[in-house]
Symmetry: C2
Subunit: 322 residues, 2 copies
């Protein structure tokens, strides 16, 4: 994939998203600056529509489908934010969405996607592969598959987060982004490097789901299987065919944080900044507060989403046992 | 008190607070607009320093003390946000603060004020009056009393919230503000009416702490005693000598909301807007979502603060019993 053309795709995606996605605010905190010794700028995608950056990629992908494709509808596999994003965008663009979810997905996640009018198809997590179930549905009904991260339109859409951030805050020294399948991180890196080659881009993963960090350092694709991290957006098995080379090429470093550091960051954002942030969304702040990333200068941090349920929040507070 | 001069005091207070208080963001939500049928603009004082609007009044008052007064220090009675505000401002302005708190105040609230360097003096809630304890301390040590709401400098400082809001969002039809002792509400009304006489100002109280609503409608000061509301900022016994006439003169109406409506608003702000808001801070949104205030046109809502502890938050989620 051509780097220069992908940066252009981010620029075009911004135009496509204008008036549809929110240009989310960039917030700062004296306390966070004092705690880190740096000037930290939080790009708050928890305030994005449906509560996470995933809206951007889904909109950028689905809005480029032909009228005929939209007539047949789309299919996606996800139990998280991508499901809600595809469901909401499909509603907005008047196409139909089928979402493949595990049969043990929480009621709240099913209802969120159903609330936007999507049809849910479940699969047996013990016996079936969600990719195969979704591909079968796509083939049988002529639906277009909207993958969660490994797709040029998805990556370009997610890159618009960082494009807005570097416009809002010039001369950043570093941008931190969470990493699951690498759609957000690769888009971030392309967007940042395309506008300011001197700004470092660092990906952050949970220590217990460090496949991308290992892949980055060994330059060979590594995987994890159902890692026991509270950061559900970072449980993805591995980087993708597109995101892995983009990350190798454009990302400066990868760092990991402990589960305790993630929880501490969620609490810090709640108590000190009054922000509701899901565990995956707090990975960048966790890296700064824990010292996993050495903080200095002007640092942009992508807060990827805020979809956390009451049970998880109270577990993080230590108010309930799970 | 002269109305025109008080509006001028709000204007002067803004200049005094420049660079010290945050100019807090005004946030909107498609979901909130859809739920209410109006265009709603949330003025987010939960993002203010120490987490609530109280910083403004305290700064406006303490910064106007003479060098000699600052040398002797200040005293305040509060177990909530005013305590933290006076403690933080005293630290910033290099004066010393003594805060009178009940002997049953939570450890977390004591620690917050002590963390800013204040000295805590406790009193026996069964036997003593906090006003008397504080007045004795003021007299004995020559300290200046900084009252929580019934003071021109406090009212003018709190009025800067609405002054910023009406600047950021022209042509508002209505502004909603929570009401405890009426410092925020009277300052809001003076600031709004001073710049746009056509904009209605409505105060919102918990149904079980409706002293200001009854005072407003009967034009006679009414009181409550330890009302059982989750909105701790609205438990104040009554309006003050200054705030009551200002509210009678400048406020268009007062409305009340149930405890369930307050909790529902806190949950809505958490789940749908990713904002951490304390129960008192959610009174305006509660009035809109419950229909206590008929929503139409462009409505500004003052979110007064975000200092909520984990126990209260999880209680509101229904995840723990209290």
């Amino acid at each position: 994939m051509n780097q220069i053309s992908l940066y252009d795709d981010v620029v075009t995606a911004r135009e496509r998203l204008a008036g549809e996605a929110h240009i989310t605010p960039v917030l700062t905190s004296r306390t966070l600056d004092e705690c880190t010794g740096a000037s930290v700028f939080l790009k708050c995608e928890n305030f994005q529509r449906m509560g996470a950056f995933k809206f951007r990629g889904a909109y950028n992908a689905i809005s480029q489908l032909s009228a005929a494709d939209r007539g047949r509808g789309v299919v996606a596999y996800s139990s998280g934010n991508h499901a809600q994003a595809v469901a909401l965008v499909s509603k907005l663009l008047k196409t139909s969405a089928t979402i493949v979810m595990p049969n043990n997905a929480s009621t709240i996640k099913r209802q969120a996607a159903e609330g936007y009018g999507a049809t849910i198809v479940t699969y047996d997590v013990e016996k079936e592969s969600r990719e195969v179930v979704a591909a079968d549905l796509a083939e049988k009904h002529g639906r277009v598959m909207i993958p969660p991260f490994d797709h040029e339109h998805i990556i370009a859409g997610q890159g618009t987060v960082a494009a807005e951030l570097v416009d809002a805050v010039p001369d950043l020294d570093m941008v931190l982004a969470p990493c699951g399948g690498g759609g957000l991180l690769s888009g971030t890196a392309v967007a940042v490097k395309g506008s300011n080659g001197n700004c470092k881009v660092i990906g952050v993963e949970p220590e217990v789901a460090d496949d991308a960090t290992r892949s980055f350092h060994t330059k060979t694709l590594q995987t994890v299987r159902n890692p026991p991290t509270i950061a559900d957006g970072a449980r993805t098995a591995s980087l993708g065919n597109l995101t892995f080379p983009l990350i190798l090429e454009n990302v400066d470093d990868m760092k990991t944080v402990t589960e305790d550091a993630i929880k501490e960051a969620v609490r810090f954002l709640f108590y000190r900044m009054k922000l509701v942030v899901e565990p995956s969304g707090a990975l960048g702040v966790a890296a700064l507060l824990s010292g996993a990333v050495r903080a200095a200068g002007k640092i942009g941090v992508i807060i990827s989403g805020g979809n956390i349920d009451a049970k998880t929040m109270c577990h993080i507070f230590g108010e309930t046992s799970r």
